[in-house]
Subunit: 680 residues, 2 copies
């Protein structure tokens, strides 16, 4: 009759009997329930809030009376008074179990809470960051038993948290003594445990309970664009997303030009390293301001990038990546000090994790895509295409994954496009052309209205209409083809042949006028024949890479396609299909995943185990080297045209009909469309 009380935790369903008077937090630990605590049960941090339930729970055979839990105590009353406790909530470290009961652990009180990512297809991230915050109560020094303050902190971590093997850098040791005395021998510590490591590094220390949070930066370092997410390491929340142009563009637009710059100019690689590191430091400052946090609270960064950017960021001359056999200096994942990358704006002890590279042309960005899209766990055969200046392409399923990269050039990111620009407020990201009138309508980043909606001019007054970003140019070219303004070879028709004055002559070719605000001092945005050629080259390279992997796998079709890209809005599957960027697939099996490489970086930031997983996965990905495959060149040449509706796209033909127009005798313009592009 005097049996110990039975406690059932929801949502985990974990249950067991605990001694009468056991605090809920202690019970949770005994039963292996995921209940957070930073202060270790001192009633300070409030992370262990629970919601007790009373009444009958016939399914569990429990009747929980109101007095099954100890009444609210002084600590809880004070906490409620000072900070407020939601109705029905109790502090798990204060409330004691006195009788049978059911206790709910709300999501925000779980350590390993799940974070739902934006994209509908995406799997949630389980929070388990490499850096965590803990509060310890440290013994005061004793002259007769002398030991260092840090040694007593380590003893406290072992006693109070079971954490051993802790080291600390000099700047943290220098902060320790004042923090301990100011915090009256209670301090909060940021402890970092790298993937696959037993040891912890103390990254920072604060007197008492640190309530400012810990943050991380997930960075996709592209050849053209740098995109970053600022995440809260407690709950994975994205506080701000920001991007800027890679300043290395002034040394060469594509990767091969940068490798050449390093080869031709002594110290050129160091110059490019400096440029990108400075940009990253600036980006960190800006994104912290945008997120409203102190940049010194950024204690972790995670990077994905292609191999050339990988080497240039790390300060390694990329020259070997410019010539066969394209040897990487190092391909493994790395855990570094962020200061080794000259990231001075963030916490001086911040750590950096760099995802592994797959091969000399298939980088950590491809690893990031693999981590986000998990082709290795797919039941059906999936083609994942990450569009950038260098496209990363993965093809596979549970039976194996193939990978390659393809030198698309920067056109998809708005570079090498006459009115192109980075995805930023004011950039055209969506575009439609009326097939009858040939008139365009568009949307710009930062405004939800279409250009022909009432109020559009007013709504875009702040940003203006500044250019076309990557997703915008893809839609523009596809829409021009669908509206009969382009023939299959990619030639723009004249005003006479297309029937619209928007097709203006420019020298020996024509351009399509999208927007003209020159009268009011604004921009004039056109799509030129050169723009079309640049997009044709880019999409041919992309298509050829995908086909090469399909050849290797011995298939003619894939079950589904995931389109990803760091730039602008999600790529429109329909327009990508019209353009011929991707192989044949049912249109409803083509989805758009946004910045998959960046998502992969964010997953690795929020979940330590994901780092171990991607390191293992990468070892099993089979790499295909496009540079030495003659079939890549064949596919590339064959893919130059923008196909006709009666070309092998049966699913597509039910959706759109492409006009069978021809504006010229040959598809070759002044730029020699069939020239093999330099890698980039």
């Amino acid at each position: 009759m005097t049996q110990d009380p039975l406690v059932i935790f929801t949502p985990s369903g974990k249950r067991g009997r605990v001694a009468r008077g056991t605090p809920v937090l202690t019970a949770a630990r005994q039963l292996g329930v995921d209940l957070d605590s930073v202060c270790g049960g001192r009633g300070i941090c409030s992370k262990c809030q629970v919601a007790p339930s009373f009444g009958d729970f016939p399914k569990h055979g429990v009747h929980a009376a109101e007095d099954a839990l100890s009444p609210r105590n002084a600590v809880e009353d004070r906490y409620d008074r000072v900070r407020g406790l939601k109705p029905g909530r109790r502090l798990g470290c204060q409330a004691q179990i006195l009788g049978d009961m059911v206790i709910d652990v709300p999501p925000e009180s779980q350590v390993h809470r799940q974070v739902v990512r934006k994209a509908a297809s995406a799997r949630p991230i389980t929070m388990d960051p490499a850096t965590r915050l803990v509060l310890v109560e440290v013994a005061e020094p004793d002259m007769h038993e002398p030991s260092g303050d840090f040694e007593r902190v380590k003893a406290a971590l072992k006693d109070q948290w079971g954490i051993e093997g802790v080291t600390a850098g000099l700047p943290v040791l220098a902060k320790l003594q004042p923090a301990l005395r100011k915090g009256n021998w209670q301090v909060s510590l940021a402890l970092h445990q790298p993937a696959n490591a037993e040891e912890f590094e103390m990254l920072d220390v604060w007197p008492g309970l640190h309530e400012g949070g810990l943050y991380g930066l997930a960075v996709d370092l592209g050849s053209t664009t740098i995109a970053a997410h600022l995440c809260d390491l407690a709950d994975g929340r994205v506080l701000a997303s920001s991007g800027l142009m890679n300043p290395q563009i002034r040394f060469g637009e594509d990767l091969m030009s940068r490798v050449s710059y390093a080869m031709m100019n002594p110290g050129g690689d160091a110059e490019m390293t400096r440029a990108v590191r400075e940009a990253l430091d600036r980006l960190a400052t800006e994104i912290a301001a945008e997120g409203g946090i102190d940049p010194k609270l950024i204690v972790e960064t995670v990077f994905v990038m292609n191999p050339v950017m990988h080497h240039l960021l790390l300060g390694i001359d990329p020259v070997e990546l410019g010539q066969a056999p394209f040897a990487l200096a190092t391909s493994g994942a790395m855990t570094l000090a962020a200061r080794d990358l000259d990231l001075a704006a963030i916490n001086p002890q911040a750590r950096t994790y760099i995802l592994p590279c797959i091969a000399g042309h298939v980088g950590a960005d491809a690893a990031g895509v693999a981590l986000a899209e998990e082709p290795d766990r797919s039941d059906d055969l999936v083609l994942v295409v990450d569009v950038g200046t260098n496209a990363e392409i993965l093809l596979g399923d549970r039976n194996g994954v193939l990978a390659c990269s393809s030198p698309t050039g920067p056109a998809f990111e708005g570079a090498q496009i006459s009115s192109g620009q980075r995805a930023a407020p004011g950039a055209i990201e969506r575009l439609e052309i009326d097939p009858a009138t040939k008139e365009p309508r568009f949307r710009v980043i930062g405004c939800d209205l279409w250009s022909d909606d009432p109020g559009f001019a007013e709504a875009t007054k702040g940003t203006g209409i500044t250019g076309i970003c990557g997703s915008g140019i893809i839609e523009a070219v596809a829409e021009m083809r669908m509206a009969g303004l382009l023939d299959p070879s990619g030639l723009i028709g004249s005003a006479e042949r297309t029937g619209t004055a928007r097709c203006e002559p420019t020298g020996r070719t024509h351009a399509y006028l999208v927007h003209d605000a020159t009268e009011t001092g604004g921009t004039r945005i056109t799509v030129t024949q050169g723009d079309i050629r640049a997009i044709q080259l880019a999409k041919s390279a992309l298509y050829a890479g995908a086909r090469l992997l399909m050849d290797q796998r011995g298939v003619d079709r894939v079950d589904r396609i995931v389109l990803a890209g760091a730039f602008g809005a999600h790529i429109s599957p329909r327009h990508a299909m019209v353009l011929g960027m991707i192989p044949d697939a049912p249109l409803d099996k083509v989805t758009s995943a946004g910045n998959a490489a960046g998502h992969g970086a964010r997953i690795a930031l929020c979940n330590r185990a994901a780092r171990t997983r991607i390191e293992e996965t990468v070892r099993h990905i089979h790499k295909v080297e496009t540079a030495i495959e003659p079939r890549f060149q064949e596919h590339f040449v064959a893919a130059n045209a923008i196909p006709h509706a009666s070309d092998p796209f049966p699913e597509l033909s039910s959706v759109v009909t492409l006009p069978d127009v021809h504006f010229g005798a040959s598809s070759g313009g002044e730029d020699g469309g069939r020239r093999r592009r330099r890698r980039g």
Copy 2:
């Protein structure tokens, strides 16, 4: 009859049978014989040289014929031609065992060779440094099986040396690719394995065989003097020893003044940190030049120092060390990157090991003394006194060790002495006074002659005679007492009372003229009453500390005394005894050990296991805090006099007779000799 050949290695005596045709190096490895090799048996490094013996060895039952070893091959011929092979020597990796034989491994071919230290009493150091050089042959990159160059280096280390868990910093990764290609896929690596660690860090890489050696710096960072040894990490040889004044002296001569400076001046601790780090960087450059090596080949540094210098070097505000309970920020041993201490002159990846501190007033220098003198392994009760601005004192035997520090001030290092100076060429380090004539004779550092030897003037023309260093001032004061120029209270007699014009009046007191070269533009060196007082204060503090430990241990006498000090020549036991620096002991049981703390640093530099050992030893040393022991003050006051021969020194009285003179009514001068000194 066709038994495998028997091979006996000397001097280890290890023996066994190996398959006919086994290379000597392979046989040595099979039998656990200590035979060096950097190139792993490629006939490149010549580290595995052996001396085969032929003839009859009845004791071992072996007859070794000339053909028991394969004849010299082309690799050995080429090596002999290019670099020369000593007669009778063979390359162990090339010579194959064909019959029974005896093979001698000369000392220079042993990895764990023993290094004999200078001091007669000192134990030899067994070489086993934390950083070693290995040569590997690395697989070339393969486009179809892509992997990073570093990953292939790691695979080669595992295959060829059984070494796993290797990491590399960015600067080394940046050097790897060119080194591999220049070395035709053979590279030499400097691999560092910290004490107690399984992992290795690659500190540097060179194409092919690196023949420039690897070096380390053992530094005793004193309050007044910084002393360093440059050691060859292959054989422990000291290439150069050098020292300079600690530039922090301008912020305060003793430690307590520096702590005060940090407390009174915002940023004062950082200023002192910068000053000492700059001095160390300069010292490294100078000592490398003196040793004739490239400073970038210094891959390790080891430091010993007192707690205040410890914190100031590490960039930690020492304020807590200035007030009870004298809490250290950290007391454990540390392995750091040398660049974290701004040591820019040496290898950018160099590692630093810092010995553990024992308590808030007993630092890593005391740990160094314990490592060098091993009181914890002594059968008899030994008192080890390390004389510096802060004296470190250890008392103990196998049953336990006590430790304390005593604030002697900088007088023993020549500071606060009117003609005092650091131990450097030109400084008087030995001094004798004729008891009859009261005339002095002396020797200076850098010259083996006495000042009354013929040719002394000529021999010292280069350095001059510039001042008196620590060991010189100790001898000067003791000799003055023995010659009747000082009374037991420490008062200098006048010319009339002493009978020599060298006792000159200076205000209300007198000074003894040691040397006067003012006529030829040289120096005038005297010992003033103030100098005597400074030495009296210093020796009283030292004596009081030693007595305090004896009280704690419950003894009135010790079995033996070891005198150590970083400065100048070895301290003369006889003079120290006359002065009353140390407690009563038979004179033949008092030895002088030179810079024991520095020796300890050198041991930790040459032997990785010694680091683990001292970390363990320090945990068992019992610390006594002089600052809070009232008996320390009592002993200090009682020790002020320079005792008379009939005082309790029976052994001493048989050696020297101290005159029973008295020059004044009281021992107090203008400086109030009984005032308790500030810690320093």
